[in-house]
């Protein structure tokens, strides 16, 4: 893939034309093209094609596209904070990653009678990642939330620059334990596009197994977290035990409970003999039985389900405009799943799971997760029907200066763009499903009660780690 530099006007026209054509925004990052600073926008079509529109930022500024694609809001703020690019027309361009500015610049100003602020974090009361929330409330009702994340910013993208392509996966994927495999596979796909490699069906199968193993434990964990969110200890503990079982299976198959180190650029090292795959299928059957039984209990528990409906609503229109992805988008009726358009992975015949009640509230997001667990276990059962052997990619395709990988994480579409400098990384951008969805959490919370926020937040169950990087 290449991306010729456009000037500001034609860049905006190109993005607007693509969006009008049904393409959607999938990421934006600041970079350099030769000696010239530049900004690239990643667009994706409904059939999964990707395209980069690049604009030169020679004088340090480019036109904004946030009016065309509100989903670009965080990306533009990040590009300003980390790379000093100004976005003409993005008003106010509030800081996002930069913590060295006073909070007033960051938080939305709210004035009026009885409005006050509730500050939460960065340290939270449970075992939760660090991040700051500023609630503007009247009584118990939330007017607006500003999420000030990036307390965990480790500069992982910068740390990858200059690394050989094959080594980048180790640094990049460790951005997040919950999405390790997704991030690693997205990176591997991007690098393989750079190098003109094509994953063989055996490599695709191994990676798909790993991706779905990651989805299993995440989904169980997320359902448990919702129980914790309303203080239903029995449900939380049951799903915690199932999560533990799934992670123990990961360790049995790959030597690591979070599957660290199981994905590489250029092929797959995963080797599972018939005993290992048989044991895995047996464990997964047990997990299926246990989770279905526990889910039924939750479903018929009135005091639990009564807390879920009609709060934290993100309807289809809001979801599309904010660029929501993953189970949260599907729960609102946007039936998009990268697994439907992933020729590099073994998802033949995959169909996006659709709820009957697609209203985008907390209940829909919970039910969407439970609904998606079963096809995920089916895929694993199919792919683990025989031994898995290490395999290498096919070589010899055309090489390219920029590579893009897109993979469905447990929280939605994750995109990784890698720009090369010879056989090293020149610039890399990781935009995870969590990054795409954070603005929706704030939108979902507005007009709800403050005590419902933990539950609304948990219904998205987004990572802070792979957003902050």
């Amino acid at each position: 893939m290449s991306a010729p530099l456009r000037d500001g006007t034609t860049y905006r026209e190109a993005v607007a034309a693509a969006l009008a054509d049904g393409w959607s925004f999938a990421g934006l990052h600041a970079t350099r093209s030769g000696d010239v600073p530049a900004v690239r926008t990643l667009l994706v079509s409904r059939s999964g094609d990707v395209c980069l529109e690049s604009v030169e930022a020679g004088n340090g500024s480019v036109p904004t596209i946030v009016d065309l694609a509100p989903a670009a809001g965080w990306d533009e703020r990040e590009a300003r904070d980390l790379y000093g690019i100004a976005f003409d027309g993005h008003e106010p361009l509030r800081p996002l990653v930069d913590h060295d500015v006073p909070l007033e610049h960051f938080a939305t100003s709210v004035r009026g009678r009885d409005a006050y602020q509730v500050a939460v974090g960065p340290i939270h009361a449970g075992v939760i990642e660090s991040g700051h929330f500023r609630f503007h409330v009247v009584g118990d009702r939330i007017l607006h939330v500003d999420a000030r994340l990036f307390h965990k910013h480790r500069g992982i993208e910068r740390a990858c620059e200059g690394l050989p392509l094959a080594y980048g996966v180790r640094t990049l994927a460790r951005a997040c334990a919950g999405c390790w495999v997704t991030n690693a596979v997205a990176y591997a796909h991007a690098c393989e596009q750079l190098l003109g490699q094509q994953p063989t069906p055996e490599v695709a199968r191994a990676r798909t197994i790993l991706l779905e193993l990651e989805r299993v434990w995440n989904t169980l964990n997320d359902i448990g977290a919702m129980c914790a969110g309303v203080g239903l200890a029995a449900g939380n503990n049951r799903f915690l035990a199932l999560t533990d079982e799934a992670r123990s299976l990961n360790a049995l198959l790959t030597g690591h409970r979070f599957l660290f180190g199981s994905v590489a650029v250029g092929g797959s090292d995963l080797g599972l003999d018939v005993h290992a795959t048989a044991a895995a299928r047996e464990t997964l059957t047990r997990i299926r039985r246990g989770s279905s039984r526990a889910w039924r209990e939750l479903l018929f528990n009135g005091s639990f389900m009564d807390r879920m409906s009609d709060i934290g609503v993100v309807d289809a229109e809001t979801a599309r405009s904010l660029g929501v992805v993953g189970p949260a988008a599907r729960a609102a009726g946007l039936l998009e799943d990268v697994r439907e358009t992933s020729p590099l992975l073994a998802y033949e015949g995959f169909e996006t799971a659709a709820l009957r009640r697609q209203v985008g509230d907390v209940q829909a997001r919970l039910e969407q997760r439970a609904l998606e667990l079963l096809p995920c276990l089916d895929i694993l059962d199919r792919l683990l029907s025989g031994p898995v052997r290490p395999a290498a990619n096919e070589h010899g395709g055309p090489e390219s200066p920029i590579g893009v990988g897109r993979v469905e994480s447990p929280r939605g579409a994750t995109a990784c763009v890698v720009e090369r400098d010879g056989d090293r990384i020149a610039r890399l951008r990781l935009r995870t499903g969590s990054y795409a969805n954070w603005p929706a959490v704030a939108s979902a919370a507005a007009d709800n009660l403050l005590p419902d926020f933990p539950l609304i937040n948990k219904s998205f169950e987004l990572c802070y780690a792979c957003v902050d990087r």
Partner: protein
Amino acid sequence: MLTLLRDLRKLRGATALSAPDRGRSLALRHVDCGSCNGCEHELTLASGPTVDMARFGLGIVASPRHADVLLVTGPVTTRMREALLIAYAAMPEPRRVAALGDCALGVDVLGSDDQIVGPVESVLPVDLRIPGCPPTPDAIAAALLALVDATTTARR
């Protein structure tokens, strides 16, 4: 609900959990200083039904003011340093600091130098080191129990 409770009781039977014979306890406060969330996931499971460290008197508390031990994860980002110091200052004495996971120990840290302060011991005095990437729930509970034992022995 009864089904859930019955399943949990069966699970406890299978994992043979029993409470220790003498009373002791530690109140723990967790502070994430830039982890990948792996240590948090495993720490949550250490309080889950299979390891259930609460039966040894090891519980997570909501505030550093109630805590005996500060459990710190992550390589300590520049942005979390101040929050970590404030949490530590809020703790009553005697207090202990545990560095949880390889990043907190400064081992194999991935990131840019200008965004990372350094291992927990470069910010606070560390009493307990729990290695692993991430340490398993069993390892976390075992290390914390060793800290209780050491403290109890020292007091005798």
